[in-house]
Symmetry: C2
Subunit: 348 residues, 2 copies
């Protein structure tokens, strides 16, 4: 496959058109396109416009209701429970995150637990929305179960990412991490290049280290036993129970608090049922925002300027690589396989 | 070393007496003793009464001011910044967590960022305090730098634990995890038994996998390069950048928001300077607390009852092992090395 570069705005227009031509309303199409193109621009292609075909499929299957509007089920000055009503994940998530930011403007802090939504793209997009308001942003989601609990043989949890963005005088700290060792997309990359998987990423259907990427994907698709390992790997020797705990935490905040479907129960009926959790916290709830951002910057800066191991590239802070890639994508265009662009054009 | 069993209450009394006889006021001694004995009762002996000698040493060195009272520097209805004034970590932390719970009773949510404190024991003790109020409890702390950033050779971050406790109809979910692969205590256990360290726990002063536990401890003590690896291990292959990110997150919330000393700058002057972060969130901010706790319980229960890998013990939820050990400790006494008990008696 040959990569060609397409400008950010052209890809945005193309992606929105793909959704519009396939039955999604204009405004929602634009929102979903934006979040997907942001992923590609940052180099996270597994969560980019490659997903458009899947969204159309899920709409046609009745999982996504393209016209649905999210509804607030419950609220206090500092909290929200939102029903996504099977809407587009990006639309539901922007609604929820914007409500959090708005309420935090008055109440300093707001959290939202969201049920009955769909795939929302990259978690880090939403956490980052808060920082221009001098707020810490938090974003999590459960998802289709692919991850094994520590000592377990059945995939019970999603790759359940956690994103937290903290404002700084310079670029913000934006941690966006799947709570598994690797996401599904990494296994697919190894499948395409027919490489053996490193031991410690996934287990096979007998609970042994999986080395065959195709077999792992086949197990995912057949709902068989085996699956991805939580961050920290197999058992407790390297802290696998910690990754398992973080994945559980995401499910309990997303699905637990909203009374929604937890990972294992997503995609079981005619709805994705995906649940999210968002938060916004004004940093001036803790003092002068300038001083706090200066201190945050100083900590990040000192860590990144500490001595690196000989032969290693650099000490990156979280979000740094993605922002560097995004800047290049803006200047030079976003590299995407020509076949994917052809396919998207065909969908219009 | 031979372990003998001492009753929970006897150990509590002995530990409080050790502090009292060494210049700590009665009420603060009782609080610190309680948190330390809770650690031993749960089997987390590295954070138990073995620390008493160190607290006395730190008091004598001027790091801990035994009579200090924490002060509120800044507050909103949902937030607090607290100066520990070099006080006993447990006293400062109970003060902060209780304030969070009290303010959350009115405002639904409260977070506290705390500076200028000292070692606080097990993070999970404080997160757990919120659950009897039907609140989610959060507790984090930075600490002495032992952990390497991804690609870094200098220990810049503490083992920076994160604890989150979520109420359930049955026992709560209480995740309490160092953000390094293993805590310092695990290296000490290998040192005592002269065993080689598993590769992936620590790096030596050249950035190579460390196998000699004594050398790793020596590097800690000499402030040399090398140190513990973040959760996920060396580099990015197994997600080490995620553990590094979680450790950073703890420092930014604890030291960043309170303008306190981050891990690398703790214990640099005549103060520990340790910073904590606490939170309390009423679950009825998201709906009926009974329904939420029932749903949380159901999720935990289904995960734990899923098929386990042949030959593995059990799928544990977070906090389950500690509570089982605690129940045995209550019934049969807490097992401790006889030499340690002798030493404590000698300190009275």
């Amino acid at each position: 496959m040959r990569d060609i570069r397409i400008s950010f705005n052209d890809l945005l227009e193309l992606s929105a058109k793909v959704l519009e031509k396939n039955g999604f309303p204009r405004s929602k199409s634009a929102i979903a396109a934006r979040v997907l193109v942001e992923a590609d621009a940052r180099g996270i292609h597994s969560h980019g416009v490659v997903r458009l075909k899947r969204y159309i499929f899920e709409k046609n299957q009745g999982f996504i209701d393209p016209n649905a509007e999210p509804a607030i089920l419950y609220e206090t000055p500092v909290s929200l429970v939102i029903d996504g009503n099977k809407g587009l994940g990006q639309h539901v998530s922007i609604f929820a995150m914007q409500k959090c930011i708005k309420k935090a403007q008055t109440s300093h802090i707001c959290f939202a637990s969201v049920r009955n939504s769909n795939h929302f793209g990259i978690a880090g997009y939403y956490s980052e929305l808060a920082q221009i308001h001098d707020m810490i942003g938090i974003s999590m989601t459960n998802t289709y179960p692919l991850v094994l609990p520590t000592n377990g043989l059945q995939p019970m949890l999603g790759t359940n990412p956690i994103a937290v963005c903290i404002p700084s005088l310079a670029a913000p700290f934006n941690l966006d991490m799947a709570t598994s060792v690797v996401p599904r997309g990494k296994i697919e990359v190894y499948q395409r290049s027919a490489k053996s998987l490193p031991k410690g990423w996934a287990l096979d259907e007998y609970g042994k280290p999986a080395v065959n990427a195709s077999k792992v994907i086949q197990n995912f698709n057949n709902h068989s036993n085996g699956g991805l390992l939580p961050l920290g790997g197999d058992g407790e020797m390297y802290g696998g129970h910690k990754g398992f705990g973080l994945a559980m935490l995401v499910d309990l905040l997303s699905a637990g608090l909203s009374l929604g479907q937890w990972s294992r129960e997503t995609y079981t009926e005619k709805a994705g049922g995906v649940c999210h959790f968002f938060g916004a916290i004004r940093i001036d709830a803790f003092g002068d925002p300038y001083e706090i951002k200066a201190h945050v910057h100083q900590i990040i800066d000192k860590v990144c300027k500490s001595t690196k191991i000989d032969g290693r590239e650099k000490i990156y802070f979280h979000g740094e690589k993605e922002m560097a890639t995004r800047a290049l994508s803006y200047r030079d265009g976003i590299p995407l396989p020509s076949e994917l662009l052809e396919e998207l054009r065909g969908l219009c």
